[in-house]
Subunit: 322 residues, 2 copies
C-alpha cells in the first residue's frame, strides 16, 4: 500500500481551517515522513500569526486542570484555541498513558478548540520536530492561540517551551527537594509564574519563595519592561484563571509594543533550525543503518574508534545532500 | 590565557587512577571543548571494563538517598565506585541547585568513591556527551562500577539511562497521576525495579501495580532469561539495599552468561554514535553563527524558508569536514 502523501491541496484545506485536513496533516507530521516535507514547508510559510503559549510544570503541579480551565476562558473570549499536549511515553513502543487527555474531555464538542496529544518519541529524536510542526499547522489553520503543554522537567521540555512567545511555569505548593531542584531549571524561562492549588495552606510559602527568587534576579527579562508576575490559581475553586489569561494577553502585547517579539522570533528560529538539522542527521542515520553505520558501529563497539571519531567519519561519508 | 589542553600524558595519569588527573579531565570533558578530543578518544579506547549502572526515578522517589546507601554497600564489598549525578539546571546560566549532592556528603573522604555532579546543559546540547564521556573517564581510570543517577522523566534522562548495562528504576508509593503517566515512559527500560519508602503503608500497592504491569508484558526482555525483579527498599530503615546490590550484580552476570551483553553494547554504541553526530552539528552551528547561519536565520524568521529547508542548506554549506 502506497503511503499517503500530503498534497498542496491538503495545505489549502488546512489553511481554511478544515478539521479533517488538519487532523490528517498532524498525523503525517507526527510520523515525520519525508513525503510531507513540501506540505510542511508551505505550512510554515503560511504560519506566523498565532500566539504560541508554552505551559509547563513539574509532575503533580496540576497543570492539566489549569490548561483545561484556561481553555474555557479563552473560548469565552471568542478566540480559537489549539492545544498540543506532550505525553511522556515509552521510548520503545511509542505508546503512552493518557491521564492528561481525560481531563480535557469536557472541552470536546466545541469546534473552536482542537486538542492534540503528541507522544514523545524514543530512540532517534522526533519529539521536537513533530511538536513544532503541529504548532505551525494550527497557526496556518487560523487558530488564534496555540498552547504547548509539557511536563516540564527535562531539556526536551525546556526546548519546546522555548519555542513559545509566552511561557507559563506552573508550580504547586509543598513539593519536595527533587522538585525544587528541577524548578531551578525551568524557573528562568517563565514569563508568567502560576502557583496552583492556592486553596492549600502552604501555597503562600511557595508564592513567597518564587517572588524571592525573582527578586534575586533569577528570571531573564524576556520582554523589555515586562515584570514577571506570580499568580495564584485554584482549579478546585476555579480561581485565578481569568487573571492568568489576562497576563498571557498582556505579555504578548508587551512583546509587540516593546520590540521584544523580534528577539523572541529570532530565538525560536535559531532553535528550530538546529533541531531540524539534528532531525536530518537522525534520519540519515536510519537510512544508512545497514551500510556504513554497521561498519562504524563495529569499530565503536570494539573500541577501535570513539563515538566522536566515528561520527565525524559518518557525517563526511553519508553526505548531506537532499 | 591559553586554554588548558589535556595531553596524552594526562590520559596516562587518569588510567592509573590519579584523582587530580581524573578531576581535570572531567572538567574539560564537561566543557566540551574540541581540544580534549584526542584525549577523550584515547580514554574511550582504554575503557570498556566497568559495569555501568543507570539509576533513575521520578522526582520525590528518594533515589538519591538510595544511591548513597547503595554506594556504601558497594564499598563494603570492596569495589571502586564512581557516581555521575545529573542535576537539572538552568538552561541559561548553567547553574544548578544541588540538593542531591548534600545527601552524598557522608561518602566523602573515601578514596574508593568519586562523586561527580554534572549540570545539564541548555541551548545547544552537551548533556549527553559530557555525561557519557565522564563515564568513559571513570571506566578507563579503573572504577569497577559507574552509577549514572538521573531524575528520570524526560527523553534526555531515558537516553542516558539507556547508555547503561543495568538500569534501575526507582518508584515511590502514593504519587499522583502525572507521576503515573511518566512512569510509563521509564517502566520499560528497567532491568530492576525498586519501590522506595517501603515503610509506608501504601508501598505494597505500588509493588503490586508494578508486578501487574510487568506481567502484562510491558517490560522488555533486556537479558535473555532475566526476570525483572521488583525490590522494596526503605532508606529510613536501611532495608533492601543489599538485595538491590545483589540484583545489580546478578543482572550483569546474566548479561554476560546469556549473550545479552553484546546486544546491550550494540545499543549503547548506536546511541553514542548518533549523539556524537548531533553534538558535532551543534558545534558547527555555533562556529558559523555569524556567517551562513545569520543569513539562513533571516530567511526562517521572515518565513521565506522553513526550518527544515534551511537546515538542509545549512548542512550542505557548512560542510562536515573536521
Amino acid at each position: 500500500m502506497a503511503a499517503f502523501v500530503p498534497s498542496l491541496e491538503l495545505v489549502e484545506r488546512v489553511c481554511v481551517g478544515e478539521i479533517n485536513a488538519i487532523a490528517r496533516l498532524l498525523t503525517r507530521a507526527e510520523a515525520g515522513s519525508a513525503e510531507c516535507r513540501p506540505a510542511l514547508d508551505e505550512i510554515y510559510r503560511r504560519a506566523g500569526r498565532a500566539h504560541v503559549v508554552g505551559i509547563t510544570g513539574v509532575p503533580g503541579s496540576g497543570k492539566s486542570s489549569l490548561v483545561a480551565q484556561l481553555a474555557k476562558e479563552i473560548r469565552a473570549a471568542g478566540g480559537k484555541l489549539a492545544i498540543v499536549a506532550i505525553d511522556p511515553s515509552s521510548p520503545f513502543s511509542g505508546g503512552s498513558i493518557l491521564g492528561d487527555r481525560i481531563r480535557m474531555n469536557d472541552l470536546t464538542g466545541d469546534p473552536g478548540i482542537f486538542v492534540r496529544s503528541m507522544a514523545t518519541r524514543g530512540a532517534l529524536g522526533g519529539l521536537a520536530r513533530g511538536t513544532l510542526e503541529a504548532v505551525d499547522i494550527f497557526d496556518a489553520a487560523g487558530f488564534d492561540m496555540v498552547i504547548i503543554e509539557t511536563v516540564g522537567v527535562g531539556q526536551d521540555e525546556v526546548d519546546i517551551v522555548r519555542a513559545s512567545h509566552t511561557t507559563v511555569v506552573v508550580s504547586a505548593p509543598g513539593l519536595g527537594d527533587d522538585i525544587k531542584a528541577i524548578k531551578a531549571g525551568v524557573l528562568e524561562i517563565a514569563d508568567i509564574h502560576v502557583v496552583s492549588k492556592c486553596d492549600r495552606a502552604d501555597a503562600n510559602k511557595t508564592i513567597i519563595d518564587l517572588k524571592t527568587m525573582l527578586s534575586m534576579g533569577l528570571a531573564l527579562a524576556h520582554a523589555p519592561g515586562w515584570q514577571v508576575p506570580v499568580l495564584a490559581t485554584s482549579a478546585a475553586k476555579g480561581e485565578g484563571v481569568a487573571s492568568l489569561f489576562d497576563a498571557i494577553v498582556r505579555h504578548r502585547a508587551a512583546l509587540d509594543a516593546q520590540g521584544g517579539m523580534a528577539m523572541r522570533r529570532r530565538l525560536i528560529a535559531e532553535r528550530r533550525l538546529l533541531k531540524a538539522a539534528e532531525g536530518i542527521i537522525a534520519d540519515r542515520f536510519e537510512q544508512h543503518r545497514g551500510g556504513r553505520i554497521a561498519d562504524l558501529l563495529g569499530k565503536v563497539m570494539s573500541r577501535q574508534a570513539s563515538p566522536y571519531a566515528a561520527a565525524v567519519k559518518l557525517l563526511n561519508e553519508i553526505g548531506m545532500e537532499d
